[in-house]
């Protein structure tokens, strides 16, 4: 039996050199956080806020590590100033693993957007991709079929630019 996709995902990150893990959880990648919380070897730091997680990751990078920061897309809002006035101007890279709550699934629905999620997620969910583009963060949508290629390409981009890149986690891939 092959290991669950959450473990395969973490194995893939380690294979690409990621060795510092911090963040704030989301149900969409609960499977990954469960492993990180359980296995001390990852040294996962449960951060109090997403921008603090970016600060922790920046400190780890300054000390020689290659960090990953996990967050819900609501945390992207919290993180804007850290991304633009710390990571991007200081050339401090990180892989952001960002869940996509409020993803528009029925554009024709009564609300005209992703009305299948809780209200607090709908606006960020609808502008998520535009928001990442506005912040000039290269990103890819995590899909099992293209995961290895996307992590490889994003990591290359991250090393070349020394700036954050993002892997967007949709519903139903890393939840268990």
């Amino acid at each position: 039996m092959s290991p669950p996709v959450s473990q395969r995902f973490l194995d893939l990150l380690e294979h690409h050199g990621y060795d510092f893990f911090t963040g704030v959880p989301c149900s969409l990648f609960a499977g990954v956080t469960r492993i990180l919380d359980r296995e001390a070897r990852y040294g996962y730091i449960s951060a109090v806020r997403e921008d603090s997680a970016l600060g922790l990751a920046a400190g780890a990078y300054l000390g020689g590590r290659q960090p990953v920061v996990f967050m819900q897309n609501s945390g992207l809002g919290v993180s804007v100033n850290a991304i633009v006035s710390l990571n991007q101007i200081y050339d401090i890279p990180a892989l952001l693993v960002v869940s996509w709550r409020g993803r528009p699934e029925r554009p024709e629905g009564p609300e005209g957007r992703g009305d299948d999620d809780a209200p607090e997620h709908l606006i960020m969910g609808a502008v998520m991709e535009d928001f990442l583009r506005l912040l000039t963060i290269p990103f890819a949508l995590l899909e099992p079929a293209t995961l290895e290629r996307d992590v490889d390409e994003l990591t290359r981009t991250m090393h070349a630019t020394r700036k954050p890149v993002a892997l967007v986690v949709p519903k139903g891939v890393l939840h268990q």
Partner: protein, 174 residues
């Protein structure tokens, strides 16, 4: 500061004063991202446990990220030293009041779980405290009451942020 020590200075006048008086590759000066010096210092202290890490912070910065005091306490790195200059004001933007005249930050740190903290009110108290502060394990906070006002003609950090990162990273990974 001892050789091999690493320092993170928060944004604002604190970093500029450190740069002007005692620049070195092992010192990292923040501009922007207010509130994050303690997080950066914590991440650094965790991955470089054999190095002394000093965070130079201000009262406004600590109050903005009070939750991070809990992160420091929970991770409990023995090499983490938090020096807070408290003038109860936002010095860089014109000395507008913070709330630290009514919120004793060093007590919050200990309540959160710092191993120890101390408030000093004068230069002689500071001299007396410094002889022992860094010799005992952290995480520890030294809160220094300072007067408002900035030194006239203090410089701005001349290196670009990206240059600061590159040289600090080399110093930290030596």
């Amino acid at each position: 500061m001892g050789s091999g020590w690493l320092a993170i200075a928060c944004n604002g006048m604190i970093g500029r004063e450190l740069y002007t008086h005692a620049d070195a590759p092992s010192r990292f000066y923040m501009i922007g991202s207010m509130g994050l010096a303690s997080s950066i210092g914590l991440g650094l202290a965790i991955v470089q446990p054999s190095r002394i890490v000093v965070v130079f912070d201000g009262d406004g910065n600590v109050l903005m990220s009070l939750g991070v005091l809990g992160s420091v306490a929970a991770a409990a790195p023995a090499n983490f030293y938090h020096v807070v200059f408290d003038n109860a004001a936002h010095g860089s933007t014109g000395d507008q009041c913070t709330i630290s005249d009514r919120v004793p930050i060093e007590k919050v740190a200990v309540a959160a779980g710092y191993r120890r903290s101390i408030r000093v009110r004068s230069a002689s108290e500071l001299d007396h405290t410094l002889s022992r502060f860094f010799t005992e394990p952290g995480p520890a906070m030294l809160l220094v009451e300072v007067e408002r006002g900035n030194q006239p003609g203090i410089g701005r950090v001349e290196s670009s942020p990206a240059e600061l990162t590159a040289r600090f990273r080399r110093a930290a990974m030596e």
